[in-house]
Amino acid sequence: MTENFEPTIIGFTCNWCSYRAADLAGTARMKYAPNVRLIRLMCSGRLDPTFVLRALSSGADGVMITGCHPGECHYIEQNYKALRRYLLLKRVLKGLGIEPERVKLIWASAAEGAKFASETTAFVEEIRKLGPLNWGKARDQLPVISEPIQREEVAA
């Protein structure tokens, strides 16, 4: 594949488990691949497959979806919804000729910083092996969201 290829990966985390796992990995100074750009959602069930397609069509080489372990969702069972969407999305990607392995679902509880770090590193290596996705000309033609999204800090 391309030499010195550094995959661009978008990772979706849930507020209650996997984001905290990432946080724990950070505060514990665990080392893991720096290729992932994390986006925090309230729940993996919030993950609209549109987000994944948008990421892939805008230049991401892989997308990581993370959430609480089955049975441990803060919103009771929304992570099962995420699981079902993920399995169906992979089938659709395959039909489009995209390797389904470019999208991965990882469960990580708030205590599993080490798991989050090692799974992330492993995923980056998998994508590195697959090579760049290079979503053709689509990237140039997409409407670019150039306006920065205004974020308001919400007191915890």
Binding site: T50, S57, K81, R84, L88, L89, R91, G95, L96, G136
Partner: protein, 336 residues
């Protein structure tokens, strides 16, 4: 002839169904004739491209453009009509979102040509393929070049209004013509640019008369395999109905007739990617929690990519599959 406003209609990569839908407005077509001077409409009258080229820019008031942009001729005419028209309407699913011709975006365009000219159903023993340029005693003649991916109209030119449907329902066409006539008479105003006209703002489900309860799907069914409850939501019966993501405007005709919505009116208001919305909708209501169980139910969904992108592939976020994009990059290289 008095100076009636000018009207044009063009077909690019399409089936001709949109033209039939326009004629299906019956006596309303006389209103078109009474209020407009039809200057260009290849399916209905004789006109040459050079006649259009000779027109003044912006001299055509209304152009209904149907069909996707499949070859460089389509692209040329789209750009030409954009220049000559005040109002350009992407008319019908092909111009809006690629429609059935857009499904070709799953394949390499050279493979498409190969399939058309050299497969078992074609008698072509000498392997004769069309050439885009050919010398004859009178000079060089040309046929259009196929583009690597089919594009929607607004991926090529600026579009004023969108009118979805495969084809747009005749009552919706009639309503739009009524509106334009009223605008001409000064009795109404045009909607803001970019508006989707001749359709609803909601989903097909919203117009569907079938009873809806809490959806829990244990298996996907195919319509010829089962006895359908005539009053119950089709999706609840396990039939993959695209209603939840599809724009309203057709009066939910297919579900009313006992067939699932296949999505010809395109994405509903606010839907960025039609297929993604359906993945969400279908996956949410499956009654399973274990991956094996879920996969078993999903096996019942034959060809999910086709199911979710039957009309919308060219207009989706990804726009085409890997083979088509690969072909595009090699085409580019060949050009250089």
């Amino acid at each position: 002839m008095t100076a009636k406003p000018k009207f044009a209609m063009y077909w690019a990569a399409s089936c001709g169904g949109c033209e039939i839908a326009v004629l299906n407005i019956h006596e309303k077509i006389l209103d078109v004739d009474a209020n407009f001077d039809v200057v260009f409409w290849p399916v209905a009258m004789d006109a040459k491209y050079k006649d259009v080229e000779a027109m003044e820019d912006g001299s055509i008031l209304l152009t209904l453009f149907n069909g996707g942009i499949r070859n460089d001729e389509n692209e040329h005419i789209a750009k030409l009509l954009r220049k000559k028209s005040k109002i350009l309407v992407a008319f019908g699913s092909c111009a809006n979102e690629g429609c059935i011709p857009g499904l070709a975006n799953l394949s390499d365009s050279r493979e498409i040509v190969h399939t058309a000219f050299n497969t078992i159903s074609t008698d072509n023993p000498n392997q004769i393929y069309p050439r885009t340029a050919f010398d004859v005693p009178e000079g060089e003649i040309h046929i259009p070049n196929i583009l690597p991916v089919l594009k929607t109209l607004d991926q090529v030119v600026d579009v004023d209004y969108y009118m979805p449907g495969c084809p747009p329902e005749s009552h919706q066409i009639a309503a739009v013509i009524d509106l334009v006539v009223q605008v001409l008479q000064g009795k109404a105003e045009l909607p803001p640019k970019g508006t989707v006209i001749g359709a609803g703002n909601s989903t097909v489900c919203d117009e569907c008369k079938r009873t809806r309860n809490v959806k829990v799907i244990k298996s996907f069914e195919r319509i010829y395999n089962m006895q359908i409850d005539p009053a119950l939501c089709l999706l609840e019966q396990g039939i993959p109905c695209n209603g939840p993501a599809t724009r309203s405007g057709c009066n939910a005709r297919c579900p009313a007739a006992g067939a699932q919505c296949i999505g010809c009116y395109g994405p509903a208001e606010g839907v960025l990617d039609y297929g993604a919305r359906l993945i969400s909708a279908f996956a949410s209501v499956l009654d399973a929690k274990e991956p094996e169980e879920i996969d078993h139910i999903l096996d019942g969904l034959v060809d999910p990519t086709g199911q979710f992108y039957r009309f919308n592939l060219a207009g989706s976020l990804l726009k085409a599959g890997v083979p088509a994009w690969k072909a595009e990059s090699t085409h580019e290289k060949e050009k250089v």
